[in-house]
């Protein structure tokens, strides 16, 4: 009977045969937190490498860092913080079962994400025009300063991997929006909104560390 009631409820939790709805909600959240831990360790390797080479090439890293555009980086930081704020609002809306607001808030988050990527594109292309990317011929010549190469190598690895996470996060949020447009969520079921927002906050958080490391501390 409960089984029937659950499948009849278009806004209730999806029926799974091996656990009840409360367990499924807790399992999804725990699963996402564990996944976030793996993400931190993934970037952890890069942070280690950065720490090592900043210590090895202290002065050169300082000089190389000046080639980055602090204002663009700062703008992107603000853009991502705003995006995270609206992701948090979307979770609040979901807990009150307001699908319309979920769509609005997450759409703003998505717009911010697009803005972030556009700004990143302009940063990358300006580096390319200054001959500071691995795609430039001079970057790969033996005369190119080894420490600069190391700095920009790490810069591209860290920001590109972060950029991939932004794109992946947009895919998740896009999927959540499409569900919210179908009025899928309610006070009884909003797991994807919460889990998707958790992931998005991590994407934001990693940038919060990348920005000072690459743009300011260098």
């Amino acid at each position: 009977m409960t089984h029937k009631a659950e499948t009849m409820d278009p806004q209730g939790p999806p029926h799974v045969h091996h656990m009840d709805a409360t367990t499924a909600y807790g399992a999804a959240k725990l699963g996402m937190w564990l996944f976030l831990a793996t993400e931190i360790l993934l970037f952890g390797g890069l942070f280690c490498a950065f720490a090592l080479f900043r210590w090895t090439y202290l002065e050169e890293f300082h000089q190389a860092s000046k080639h980055l555009n602090v204002w663009m980086g700062a703008t992107n930081t603000v853009v991502l913080l705003i995006s995270s704020y609206f992701a948090a609002l979307a979770v609040d809306a979901a807990q009150h079962g307001n699908n319309k607001k979920i769509v609005t808030y997450l759409s703003i988050t998505m717009l911010c994400a697009v803005g972030f990527l556009v700004i990143k594109y302009f940063e990358y292309s300006s580096k390319y025009h200054h001959g500071l990317s691995p795609l430039n011929v001079e970057f790969n010549s033996p005369e190119f300063n080894a420490a600069y190469k190391c700095f920009f190598g790490l810069y591209y690895c860290m920001t590109a991997l972060h950029g991939l996470h932004v794109i992946f996060g947009m895919a998740i949020l896009g999927w959540v929006i499409s569900k919210a447009r179908k009025n899928r969520f309610s006070e009884r079921y909003y797991t994807p909104v919460e889990v998707g927002a958790l992931y998005w906050h991590l994407v934001d958080l990693i940038w919060i560390y990348l920005f000072p490391l690459l743009y300011l501390v260098g």
Partner: protein, 543 residues
């Protein structure tokens, strides 16, 4: 009731026959079927990588070239043997196979927490395996460790092979994540933490390492790929990079990963010994704590692989001391197993034979590990056959024999049949004698200075190499007998297994053999500890 059903004896539904056809396997979300699929895939690669090992041993049987392999092909052979055994067989190893099959059964759940993710992790494994096989078209000779700067200079296969290892890492992470959530959220009513079977505890500790260590090697391999394709100068000293950084990040994963391989094997031994000794496990809590101490310590010993890589004396001494610390929880486990057997009524069935041989072999493995943790001694033994023998005592004598023990033990549950005990015992004798015959001479060779990964050697090493090769073939024959015995009786055997052939008290034995799709007819309610052997339990009878 149809007439057909009334004339023929009714076939009971179980996870193997409730859906039929190849698509029912390809799309399955059933943890038991996914475990079986992993088992078949893993043993395919075990077979291939084992044949490569025998080829190498044949080459080394006599001094001088045998004509079978060129020196270049020999380098490719030891790389493939190592990379396939590690990344395709022993890392997914016990968790993906027996872990998948048993974990929900042991805690009284219907499935793992995320069945779709479980199937996804299997297909990610298959994608990684296919990438590794394609990489064979352009074989690599770096050894399974992909050390820089050589891996930056040598053949193009490195990029695909490391990409394959990266993809396989995802599969491992998803399995570990799934298991942690399953153990936290899906325990049946009454299955308190301190009632969990030791195999579940071991799988839990293992899953923690899978989740926390794997991403680090992932980023390391990614950086290696970027270094090769973009020349970003992280690892190549010619470009200003640091090759030792690669080793640090590599071993930050690859030391804990040996605990991914061995901890579940410890768990299996902890399940087998109480059942065949008819005694409660001795020091249950100590064994649980030891598992987690090993998982934790495993994260802080990685640089003992790098004592001769130019790390500072201070960090070498620190890592040496922490490595000695690993001996404590390991010894706790060994003492607890032996104490469990003490004055028990021991039955020497095949799983128990493997379990006892595991204790012996692992003691040798652990003791020789102490030698290698000692700084001065390690400088001499580094990159010799002593290390090769130590490693195989832990990984083959430990993880593989643990897996084989577990496969025999849970075979009746998985297949619903009984295997041929005589052939299994002959297989065991061949494995045990063959294994020791292979690697005891290698300890001696290492002490005399025989370096690892060499195609040829001076004539005075010949007799020991000869014995080692004879042992290797015997070992291979033993595994073949053991595995074909299980595979053939599983497929064609006539002897049906009862629910609980060993009178085990553990939950997985209290359901049908093989289990139904949902594991239990009704959700079980657990009222007592798993290991209450020899005490009046349940209906008042002694077990």
């Amino acid at each position: 009731m149809s007439t057909a059903a009334s004339t023929a004896p009714e076939v009971k539904k179980n996870y193997l026959n409730d859906h039929t056809g190849i698509w029912s396997w390809i799309y399955t979300l059933d943890h038991k079927r996914i475990g079986i699929m992993y088992l078949v895939s893993l043993f395919t690669f075990f077979f291939i990588a084992g044949l490569i090992a025998l080829t190498m041993r044949y080459e080394l049987m006599h001094a001088g070239a045998s004509g079978l392999l060129t020196p270049k092909q020999y380098n490719v052979a030891f790389t493939l043997h190592g990379a396939m055994m590690v990344f395709l067989f022993i890392v997914p190893g016990i968790p993906a196979t027996l872990g998948n099959f048993l974990l929900p059964l042991m805690i009284g759940a219907k499935d793992v927490a995320f069945p779709r993710m479980n199937l996804l992790s299997y297909y990610i494994y298959i994608v990684g395996a296919i990438m590794a096989l394609v990489a064979l078209l352009n074989p690599i000779d770096t050894g399974w460790t992909f050390y820089t700067p050589y891996s930056i200079q040598t053949g193009q296969g490195v990029v695909l092979m490391t990409a394959a290892a990266f993809v396989l890492g995802f599969s491992s992470i998803l399995t570990g994540l799934n298991f942690i959530v399953t153990i936290h959220k899906l325990r049946a009513p009454g299955m308190h933490w301190m009632r969990l079977p030791l195999f579940v505890w071991a799988t839990y500790a293992t899953a923690g390492i899978q989740v926390l260590a794997t991403p680090v090697v992932g980023i390391n391999l990614l950086l290696l790929i970027m270094e090769r394709t973009m020349g970003i100068g992280i690892f190549d000293p010619k470009l200003g990079g640091d090759p030792v950084l690669f080793q640090h990040l590599f071993w930050f994963y690859s030391h804990p990963v040996v605990y991914i391989m061995i901890l579940p094997a410890f768990g299996i031994i902890g399940e087998i010994i109480p059942v065949f000794s008819r005694k409660p496990i001795f020091g249950y809590k100590a064994v649980v704590i030891a598992s987690f101490s090993l998982a934790l310590l495993g994260f802080f010993v990685w640089a003992h692989h790098m004592f001769v890589s130019g790390i500072s004396d201070f960090s070498a001494a620190t890592f040496s001391i922490i490595t000695f610390g690993v001996a404590i929880p390991t010894a706790v486990k060994v003492f607890n197993w032996v104490s469990t057997m003490y004055r028990g009524s021991i039955r020497l069935d095949t799983p128990m034979l493997y379990a006892i041989s595991f204790i012996f072999i692992f003691m040798v493995a652990g003791t020789t590990g102490i030698y290698l943790a000692t700084l001065g001694v390690d400088v001499f033994y580094h990159d010799t056959y002593f290390v090769v023998a130590h490693f195989h005592y832990t990984m083959q004598g430990g993880a593989v024999i643990g897996l084989i023990a577990g496969l025999h033990f849970w075979f009746p549950k998985m297949s619903g049949k009984m295997y041929n005990e005589h052939i299994a015992k002959i297989g065991f004798v061949l494995v045990f004698i063959g294994f020791n015959l292979t690697f005891i001479p290698q300890f001696v060779l290492g002490m005399h200075g025989m370096p690892r990964r060499y195609f040829d050697y001076p004539p005075e090493f010949e007799s020991l190499h000869f014995v080692s090769t004879i042992g290797a073939f015997m070992n291979g024959l033993g595994y073949a007998m053991a595995i074909f015995n299980l595979a053939l009786t599983g497929l064609f055997g006539k002897v049906k297994a009862p629910r609980n052939p060993y009178d085990s008290l553990s939950l997985e034995w209290q359901t049908d053999s093989p289990p139904i799709h949902d594991n239990f007819e009704t959700t079980p309610i657990i009222t007592e500890w798993t290991y209450g052997y020899g005490t009046p339990v349940r209906d008042g009878t002694h077990h």
